[in-house]
């Protein structure tokens, strides 16, 4: 008996070491579930809870559809969402399955190092409050493209901003759909294609009929459910150690093959430049995510916009602190429990399932079912937010503002918005199915890097630098985009994992540490050397917009020159 136990322990040690070795290259694939997956048996509790969630959200969509009469209703829920509601919805939009399952899985494998993505994801929110919340809210109408095009020559900068939005949204969607398909297959036992179609159909129902209002409430419900689930799980984990956090860490170190090493840095990552580039990509990427920025327009006043960012921070602070308990809880409770390992010593379903297994270990079938349903809700909420943002980029930014020069037929615009939503849903299904057997790790990394290197620089500089010109912004954004794509392609995730070369030409998966400064420098050079007449107009517009950015459109009506 004791010998059997030793053999199992050895198997766990070997598999954990193998996982650690492979993980250093796979670690940034948090947005997706990789490789072959082992389908779980149908969980009736999960199915029941999921059906309750779907029923409730469909009712909300029906209710919202009665209130979605105009484009403003569709894009921003009529601008009537309160700061607390919006903060909760932002948290719901942002705390993805990758955050919950991915980070817990990383801690399960490498302990403390798993938290690097958590600190990156959280720390963007204070900056969002200090730099962007109020100014973006005051300067824009429906999208971040409105903000960046306010003082610059409209058509050129809009094309760049729309491209940045669509690239981010489409790549984010692919990563979410592939991750969703595999995750749902794993959790609910549904075939991949059925799972992808199901996610798309539900999201299309929410968004097409209920627009931003339905999306907001789906995100709020999901955020509340996720908080409840994480709190219950953390409570049950801490109960095992008589509510001693030190006991939890001690138990984790005792059970992990690497012992005390997991309590500090250096298990998964050793290179400080790699950590720095992940931190830059996460923080500045989040500040440039169009579907997150769009949420700032759903509140009625600038004060509510600031409150939104603060409440979002508060919820996420709680969530990412609880993940420490959950992460080390998985180490303490799963490693020595053969129930969660296959006969060859691998954790069932891979490390991304560690959080779900933890729910089983401490709460049985009911908590497992609840957490599985919450995970599904998480995917729906994130995909819904992305879909609204993508639809707004096409129907508002492109059709209404560029084609119709800001004077669209409202009925036609709303119709185009709904059609675009359906098209995006269909594209998401097609791409989700096309990419199901591909290594999509790079697709998960790309949106953050592109958002950090294209969207953030033009947004930040248009709000804070008088010298920005249209020429500088466009060239800087194009350089940011090209450098991001090139460095990701020649980095380990594509050059080695996808294309099969032995060694990457560029050593980092998340290159924003290099591409963001490059975009800023290029923008600066091409702006300060711009002597055109348009450049003078761009610079003159700044002081006028400065007033509006702090005092709002009522106190500082827009008088900027267009041409």
């Amino acid at each position: 008996m004791s010998r059997m136990k030793n053999i199992r322990r050895d198997a766990v040690l070997i598999s954990a070491t193998a996982l650690l070795m492979s993980f250093t290259t796979q670690v940034l694939a948090v947005g997706a579930i990789e490789g072959e997956i082992e389908r779980q048996p149908l969980n009736p509790v999960a199915i029941t809870m999921f059906l309750i969630f779907v029923g409730a959200t469909l009712f909300i969509s029906y209710w919202s559809s009665k209130r979605t009469k105009s484009s403003k209703d569709f894009y921003t829920a009529g601008g009537d969402i309160s700061g607390l509601q919006n903060g909760t919805a932002i948290a719901g939009d942002f705390m993805s399955a990758a955050s919950f399952l991915g980070i817990t899985g990383l801690i399960f494998i490498g302990g403390f190092d798993g938290l690097v993505l958590a600190i990156g994801a959280f720390s963007a929110w204070p900056i969002m409050l200090f730099l962007l919340a109020k100014r973006v809210r005051n300067m824009g109408k429906f999208t971040f493209t409105d903000v960046v095009s306010m003082r610059l020559e409209k058509s050129g900068i809009r094309i760049v901003a729309i491209s940045g939005t669509l690239v981010v949204v489409v790549l984010y969607l692919i990563a979410q759909m592939v991750g969703a398909g595999k995750l749902i297959e794993l959790l609910f036992g549904l075939p991949y294609n059925v799972a992808v179609v199901l996610v798309s159909v539900l999201v299309l129902t929410y968004v097409t009929f209920g627009g931003m209002l339905a999306t907001t409430w789906v995100q709020i419900i999901k955020a509340v459910l996720l908080m409840i689930g994480v709190t219950i799980t953390a409570f049950l984990v801490l109960m095992q150690t008589d509510f001693s956090f030190d006991g939890l860490l001690s138990g984790a170190a005792d059970n992990h093959p690497l012992g005390d090493a997991i309590l500090s840095a250096g298990v998964l990552f050793k290179d400080p430049v790699q950590i720095a580039t992940i931190l830059v990509s996460m923080l500045f990427g989040i500040l440039g995510l169009p579907h997150i920025l769009m949420r700032l327009f759903t509140v009625p006043t600038m004060q509510e916009a600031k409150k939104s960012a603060f409440y979002a921070s508060l919820f996420m602070a709680y969530f990412y602190l609880m993940l420490v308990v959950l992460g080390f809880g998985t180490v303490m409770l799963l490693y020595n429990n053969p129930q969660f390992f296959t006969s060859d010593g691998q954790i069932i379903g891979g490390s991304n399932m560690a959080a779900i297994h933890l729910a089983t270990a401490v709460g049985g079938d009911y908590l497992t079912g609840f957490m599985s349903a919450v995970t599904f809700a998480t995917i729906l909420a994130v995909v819904a937010g992305l879909t609204v943002s993508g639809a707004a980029a096409v129907s508002h930014d492109f059709y209404a503002e560029m084609i119709c020069k800001g004077k669209p037929d409202p009925v036609k615009e709303l119709r185009i918005t709904r059609v675009t939503t359906i098209v995006i849903g269909v594209i998401a299904v097609i791409l989700g199915i096309l990419f199901q057997d591909e290594n999509v790790a790079f697709i998960a990394a790309m949106p953050m890097v592109v958002a950090a290197s294209v969207n953030f620089p033009i947004l930040f500089l248009s709000l804070f630098w008088e010298g920005l010109t249209t020429r500088g912004a466009i060239i800087g954004a194009v350089v940011g985009m090209i450098s991001s794509v090139v460095l990701i392609v020649i980095g380990p995730q594509v050059w080695v994992s996808v294309l099969g070369f032995d060694e990457a030409l560029f050593p980092y998966n998340y290159p924003a540490l290099f591409t963001l400064p490059l975009a800023l420098i290029v923008t600066w050079i091409f702006s300060v050397t711009d002597k055109s007449a348009r450049a003078t107009v761009d610079r003159d517009n700044y002081s006028k917009l400065l007033l509006r950015s702090e005092y709002g459109p009522d106190d500082a009506p827009l008088e900027v020159a267009r041409h």
Binding site: F112, L115, V116, A118, I119, F122, S123, W125, P126, I127, L129, F130, L131, F245, D246, L249, S250, A253, D260, L263, S264, A265, G266, F269, K270, D271, P272, I275, A276, L279, L283, T301, M302, K306, F310, S313, L314, A317, Y320, L321, V324, F464, S543, L546, L547, S549, E550, Y551, G552, D554, D555, A556
Partner: protein
């Protein structure tokens, strides 16, 4: 309040925003210390506990960021009556 006075206030607020951002970013990138020899002290545990310096830093950063946000909101709420913000 005339436009020039307003612009003065906006510029002061802009400096404040950038200062809060700079402090936050400095603290944020201190996280990299855990991975350098200069930050080797962070690998030690606190007293007799199992809490490493790195883990304490992670928790402290989250709490401090929330406190900084509260300070920012407080300072701006204070300016509300003087700055003419609606």
């Amino acid at each position: 309040m005339n436009t020039e006075e307003k612009i003065k206030i906006v510029k002061r607020k802009t400096r404040q925003r950038l200062m809060f951002t700079a402090i936050t970013l400095m603290l944020y990138f201190s996280y990299v210390l855990s991975y350098t020899s200069m930050g080797s002290f962070l690998s030690h545990t606190l007293g007799e506990s199992h809490v490493s310096g790195s883990l304490a830093l992670y928790t402290a950063l989250i709490v401090v960021f929330i406190l900084i946000e509260l300070l920012f909101l407080y300072l701006n709420a204070d300016k509300k009556t003087q700055g003419g913000e609606k």
